[in-house]
Symmetry: D2
Subunit: 302 residues, 4 copies
């Protein structure tokens, strides 16, 4: 059975390793895993944390319906984009504050925490006033001005790996947030850009091992954006659990075929429930736990 606290136990001894430039993010200066408490959950601990929800917040019924569904499925945190980075200016850009309000309502309804993306330093105050975790998207992974601004936030940051960033660059980006005083950074592997086109990106699960070796920060996997294919999400999630990730970020949509964004990679609530049941069964064999049922009761607010 593997131990999430030390997934790479066989690393051979080396003579006096040099501290990298990302000194605060480095495991050499902080040997124990960072565990981020968020309400009843601890990210980076034994619980395998699952963030789920639609790619973008579209409307109240969609958001609230999906929120309730992912809670029933066993998610710990609801995801949904109010500010959407789209390669074309004519694509749906998100509902902005209106979307943030819908997310807040979804939190109210379900008692789950929420995570949503912030794209610009001018929006940080607004987004922080609504969300529990602020997400930095892959295209902003080296937006150093935004990272500096986020280092002054009181809330945890979910930092996605850029499509063309090495693990060391990801850790250097995290260092911007840590150096400014915000020590609660969660990393996210979401696929890198390669020559292979059969998946949208190439999920680099080895990066989980490299991150765990070089850093103390928790790291989750986003199999939805990595693959771009709904039917790859469950098996890639199993692999993420097996390789030692601390959790998942998954796109779930009530009606994927009519989603305003990334429908082809969203799974349905039913598929999500099946996947979570399977992961909950598998987790103990990998030193993890998904405490779906107990948490459901525990989180329901009075």
């Amino acid at each position: 059975m593997s131990d999430p606290q030390s997934p790479t136990p066989k690393e051979p001894a080396k003579p006096a390793p040099k501290i990298p430039s990302y000194k605060r993010a480095s495991r050499l200066t902080h040997p124990e895993n960072t565990v981020i408490n968020l309400g009843p959950y601890a990210i980076g601990g034994e619980e395998f944390i699952v963030m789920a929800g639609p790619c973008s917040v579209e409307a109240d019924p969609q958001m609230l319906g999906t929120a309730w569904e992912v809670k029933i499925g066993g998610a710990h945190i609801i995801r949904g984009g109010a500010f959407k980075p789209r390669s074309s200016p004519y694509s749906f850009q998100g509902l902005a504050e209106e979307g943030l309000k819908m997310l807040a309502k979804a939190r109210e309804l379900t008692g789950l925490g929420i995570v949503t993306e912030v794209m610009d330093s001018t929006d940080v105050d607004l987004v922080e006033s609504y969300t529990d975790i602020l997400q930095v998207g892959a295209r902003n992974s080296q937006n150093f001005s935004l990272l500096k601004r986020l280092s002054k936030c009181q809330k945890p940051i979910l930092l996605k790996r850029g499509l063309m960033n090495t693990v060391d660059e990801l850790l250097s980006s995290a260092e911007y947030i840590l150096a400014g005083g915000n020590e609660r950074v969660i990393l996210c592997e979401r696929g890198i850009r390669t020559f292979e086109t059969s998946t949208r990106n190439t999920l680099d699960l080895s990066s989980i091992l490299t991150i765990k070796e070089r850093s103390h920060l928790p790291v989750i996997v986003d199999p939805s954006h990595a693959s771009g294919k709904a039917h790859y999400v469950a098996p890639l999630s199993r692999a993420a659990l097996a390789v030692g990730a601390d959790g998942l970020m998954v796109e779930v949509h009530c009606a994927p075929e009519s989603a305003l964004c990334d429908g082809e990679e969203s799974i349905t609530p039913g598929e999500f429930r099946d996947m979570m049941a399977n992961l909950a069964d598998l987790a103990p064999a990998f030193g993890r736990r998904i405490s779906t049922i107990p948490l459901l009761a525990q989180n329901q607010r009075p």
Copy 2:
């Protein structure tokens, strides 16, 4: 629990899919999985097949010692290179026929099958006379003359994905072997070349899903060459099992620090035993089996 016979059950229905140019390798023309029988094992069935051994055959004691160790660890097939593709002409090039003889002795000793690489069409007869499976290395994955020659062999072919090849190109290379009449092809994902340098290559586990979706051929994973790091082999092997691969190819060496080739990615016999015990425990949860102990007795020749 996942079912290895249909790991991607959620693929949405599509209108009359077009048969690709690799028609014999395509699942559209051959819906059932290909299962390749090799002595007491079936590759592509429920048994999770493990091929293990040194990168290169170096000497009798090294080869026989390692062979015995990997058998004890639970490997099904012994690997070892007699012809080595090395980027420099001054690196150790392998023992050629002398190496093949040592492999044959290892088979004699252990009762396990052997797999070894053939690099040139002029060596096919020689290699086939010794080995049970002929391996095509990543750098020869589009050596079409060699593939044509191998299509006339009576023995199964292990075809590695080229560092620069898409899944469709890998299946087209397999098609060369199938088209010539040899239907026993095993594919192998061993990492692709990307911009990331923290691992030697980037292991593309999504490719297992794409291969299973598009083809009926069995596919295994080589975590040793993919990562280039011994302490990544066990967790990546768990992920390979979890994602639906049919087996593994792993480098094991009695004394990795003195290996003539790729020592830094070879695990020790002890590490191999631990990993196999762990995988045998995990396998049933993924619809697989590693029948280590029974096979040990069954294969011991009188």
Copy 3:
């Protein structure tokens, strides 16, 4: 002799080409080349425009000395970074407004225009108040919030291609600026990230042809960041001229060995003069012109 107005004359006729999502950036909706007037120069016309200067503005003597040197060498525009995107938070981050003031002094001294990077939407007003062209760096090439803000600027934007961006994505990023009302966008090829490590990035000169074919916007080449090697700058600049680029952005430093940033890729003022003299000789053969001497007099302010 090639004609910069139509560098790809052999494009075969196609049946009713579909207008891409970047409709304003597309040549289909705007067949003539966009020419951007900036003082006495026209970017995208016959003049081969050269932007030169240090990677970062460091101090008055360095900036003014280099400014004067690049003017003597024949540059049209002075470059220099006051806000520096650095992968580590502990690297020199630029002098901010103090650096902008030094750039303004350099303009005063030389009469040349200036270009400098803006990294965050909150800095746009400040940077625009000093500079003649606002630069978007490679790491912000898909920072859509910044691009939207820049679409409201009155000054031209120099948009660098992201390390991970296709030409179509670059044109979509340009579309953000055009769609908001700022039609003066200059594109810049500065190398993409590949597996090859002998140069810092891989300069993709074919992209100049693709951009010219698909868009009407001017495009320049940055051989300094692309190669990361000072002695590659001159031959790559010649190739950029030959392939049909509208100009260059080149790093020049009075004392490269003591530069605070990217010294190994900066050429000296003497090397710059030699390169410019060579390019001026070559330009007419490619339908271009570098009018160094006349401009020197013409620009000297009374």
Copy 4:
């Protein structure tokens, strides 16, 4: 004016450079450029050598017609494939010896030398008996068995860079040929595989500089395979001349639209003549020469 003998004159002095593993290919052990004489031409000297012809030899009239056309256009050597590496076994595989005979006839007719690909060590004797230069294709760039066999040939080898090979790997592949005793190796940059899909591959012209810096071997550029687009061939050829390449390999076909292979990247004889006239005009400015007319007479056999 640039000097082809030393295109990278600004390389700063370094303390005692270490000889790389490709010692015979290294410039450190062989400071002068290798010049390969082939009939009246010298490859790697002042003459800018152009190899032109169809992707594959298809039939006598096509081959002889194209051969005559490329001679009129000013080509030095005729190219044409008799053994074709195709990703699908059902694509046209080439005419084999019949094609070699057509090539030999084309040499007879025009007096030009010929270059053709050899795909397998078993075909080396056959191909060598017909051709003047043996070509190793990109997919065989690390087929070490073939390279070893070619090291025993009496004729020059044209070694193409693999789609995923670094410059150092290309030089190591060349070392296999040099180490076996064949010192006449011509390298060829033909584009590498990247994430960009607007061109078939990404032409890496910086590699010409790296090769010239690290090795004494001549290097040419293949803009046809690199771009996959006929109308990119002329501007990329100009850039290749400008950056310091020793020549070109270009696909020319009498009727590109009916070519059995790669028609979309083949230029017509008329386009080839125009391109050659332009290159001949430009060459002196880059320290090169294309002596079209004198050679035409000189080569006509009695």
